[in-house]
């Protein structure tokens, strides 16, 4: 962390901040005198509590209320109680593996699309991030530069990512041109169902893999060097060193990466929505887009149904997040 930079940034902002803060010192001193330390603690926590309460906690309760009420109205008082109707609608299927047999076929299409996406995308990310981290950790010249190369797409906005790749993947785009040059048959990337899936996975991996590689790289660099030196003194073969030292010691980090990637993949929306719009047909329609369409966009608008669906997604995410927190605690202790 560069202190010089922090100081510069600090110097620019410090003067006005201090002036503003000083101007409210007198009333706050009075407040402190009247209410003591407890009053000051309340004062420091209040802005965050208000924001959290208004925009996270209250909505969460409304979410539950929505999921058991019907109609198109947003005000709770205008909505009628329907019990578990939304959940029934979402969960009723003759065969859960066949969306067309479900009462809400779109939901189950989104569920299975998301499941397939999550499995393929997270696996790909884990493998590519691991490979990249291993290579970035090896003795290569200009390591900082290479780290930056893989990290670059992470900062790009999903809309930019989606548009870049829409441009490259179009029928007469760069990728097809390269494929023709290599004597491969060009593909209608965003128009054929299977290829659109490949594109969605590929683009989201492209956009995020650098982040996970960095976490793994930090994990690799934390492995004590003398372990490797001891192994070398013992004449251990490199492959064995990898499987018996590196992998076991990196395992906690790898698990954290996988769970983090899972949490993000379940909520996938932005870049795929810009890239394919969920199409062709519904082949890249994922859960968040389903919630968005049902909740806001489509003529089928049904806030209660969207709430019920998001609560179910939330359940999955809570399990994953608890897993992540547990894992991080375990990793930091290990």
């Amino acid at each position: 962390m560069s202190f010089a930079l922090a100081n510069t940034i600090g110097a620019v902002f410090a003067a006005p901040v201090r002036w503003l803060a000083a101007s409210i010192d007198a009333p706050l001193r009075l407040w402190q005198r009247l209410t003591g330390k407890g009053g000051m603690i309340a004062f420091f926590l209040m802005p965050n509590i208000i924001v959290f309460g208004t925009f996270v906690i209250i909505p969460l309760f409304i979410n539950f209320a929505y999921s058991v009420t019907g109609g198109n109205e947003l005000f709770l008082t205008d909505r009628s109680f329907v019990g578990t109707q939304h959940f029934d609608r979402l969960l009723t299927c003759d065969n859960h593996f066949d969306p067309s047999s479900c009462r809400d076929d779109l939901f189950w299409t989104a569920v299975w699309n998301t499941a397939r996406f999550v499995v393929v995308q997270v696996t790909t990310i884990a493998i590519v991030a691991m490979g990249t981290a291993l290579i970035l950790n090896s003795k290569i010249p200009a390591r900082g530069f290479w780290r930056a190369v893989f990290f670059f797409p992470v900062l790009l906005s999903p809309v930019v990512v989606g548009l870049i790749w829409r441009w490259i993947l179009q029928r007469q785009g760069l990728l097809n041109f390269v494929m023709i040059e290599m004597d491969l048959t060009p593909v209608n990337w965003l128009i054929e169902r299977d290829w659109a899936f490949v594109a969605a996975v590929g683009v989201s991996v492209w956009a995020h893999v650098g982040f996970y590689a960095l976490i793994l790289l930090a994990g690799l660099q934390a492995i004590p060097r003398d372990l490797y030196e001891a192994a070398e003194m013992d004449g251990t073969r490199p492959a064995r060193v990898f499987f018996r030292i590196t992998l076991p010691l990196l395992w906690p980090n790898l698990l954290v990466v996988i769970v983090l990637a899972l949490i993000r993949a379940v909520q996938i929306f932005d870049e795929v929505y810009v890239l394919t719009g969920g199409g062709p047909g519904t082949s890249t329609l994922y859960l968040t887009q389903y919630i968005y369409e049902i909740g806001f966009a489509s003529i089928l608008r049904n806030p209660g149904l969207a709430s019920a669906a998001s609560l179910m997604m939330g359940g999955v995410l809570i399990v994953l997040t608890l897993g992540q927190l547990g894992l991080q605690r375990w990793r930091d202790r290990a």
Partner: protein, 353 residues
């Protein structure tokens, strides 16, 4: 670094001959370079191409503009496009196109503008030089409210970041430097909010926003994003490393608790605040789904929403879209170029994204 290094880059023998792992390493890095930077570079190059050139297949790497030549015809000077032409007798020449009728072009020699030569369009190729279609950038500024979108994005980003820094640092201060009953409860609630990402609360959050009358306002975009527990955690973690003796010294120095916050703790948290500020800027600049829901009036769109809407229109004008995409990307690229090291170490240290 580690010995995996050797595993992957060891060169067999002493002669410096390449082992297969060296090949894998450099293939991986090379592919990474092309894959990670290539698309962005291709985007930038494409953004300078004219619509006609964008429609070309196979595409050229660099943007070109057609050369024109000034020809005086009947006392009137006109700029005409210049072509390499194979004449019917098999000889090559450079002619300017006067007009085109079906598959035949009427062309003239700039040196002798009076004689019209008819050439089948298959026998000619435009004379081009590398050049940039700046219009792609200039036109959207006036025609598509680009300036307005830019202003909205900057406003949202800056305001949200400032509010985030203030509220999060205040809470982090209380949670790191005071012992009080219920502290763990507050911490637990904040952890819990980690588990409820925006995408789970979309519908009810929208109803809260509209109850507050904030739908279709930039504040409706800003306020919910301020509730990121990540910032509170990051700052609290950092503030825990500030020695309590400093705060006690300030108390002995008759500082009020508020002064301790803004004169002692805040300046000392500057590095962590900088990290949070940078992340917040990138997050808010890139936000898409929430602004998409809150904003339905065009003049309130942020860049991301505006760009997406524009790209979704029936008659897709790629030359403008590409240029606007580049413009949207520029701030993030600047952040990347100057603060890359800062950010990557920040991520490695905090697991923040």
């Amino acid at each position: 670094m580690s010995r995996i290094a050797t595993f992957l880059t060891r060169r067999r023998g002493d002669g410096g001959r390449w082992h297969w792992t060296d090949v894998v390493t450099w293939l991986w890095l090379g592919a990474g370079l092309i894959l990670m930077f290539g698309p962005a570079i291709w985007l930038v190059l494409s953004s300078f191409k004219t619509p006609a050139q964008l429609a070309e297949f196979p595409p050229t790497i660099l943007p070109y503009v057609s050369e024109t030549v000034a020809v005086t015809l009947n006392g009137e000077t006109r700029n005409l496009p210049l072509y390499d032409v194979i004449l019917s007798d098999g000889s090559a020449d450079q002619l300017a196109e006067l007009r085109r009728v079906g598959t035949v072009a009427q062309m003239i020699d700039p040196a002798d503008p009076e004689t019209v030569i008819k050439v089948p369009i298959t026998d000619r190729r435009p004379v081009r030089e590398v050049g940039f279609a700046w219009d792609n950038y200039l036109k959207p500024l006036e025609a598509f409210n680009f300036g307005q979108y830019l202003y909205n994005s900057v406003f949202v980003t800056v305001t949200a970041t400032i509010i985030t820094l203030i509220t999060n640092s205040m809470a982090a201060f209380a949670l790191s430097k005071y012992e009080f009953r219920g502290r763990n409860a507050v911490l637990l609630i904040i952890v819990a909010t980690l588990m409820i990402p925006l995408s789970v609360n979309l519908v009810p959050l929208y109803s809260v926003i509209s109850t507050l009358g904030l739908q279709n306002t930039l504040w409706g975009v800003i306020l919910p994003t301020v509730a990121t527990p990540t910032g509170v955690f990051l700052l609290r973690q950092y503030m825990l490393t500030i020695p309590d003796e400093l705060i006690e010294a300030a108390r002995m120095d008759k500082a009020s608790e508020w002064q301790i916050y803004y004169r002692i703790v805040l300046p000392l948290t500057a590095p962590a605040l900088a990290v949070l500020a940078i992340f917040s800027v990138v997050w808010r600049w890139n936000d898409f789904l929430w602004p998409l829901i809150v904003l339905s009036r065009k003049e309130l769109f942020t860049l991301q929403v505006g760009l997406n809407t524009f790209a979704g229109e029936l008659n897709v004008q790629w030359h403008y879209i590409l240029a606007m995409t580049v413009a949207t990307m520029i701030p993030v690229v600047i952040v990347f170029v100057f603060l890359q090291r800062f950010i990557t170490t920040g991520i490695a240290g905090t697991g923040l994204k």
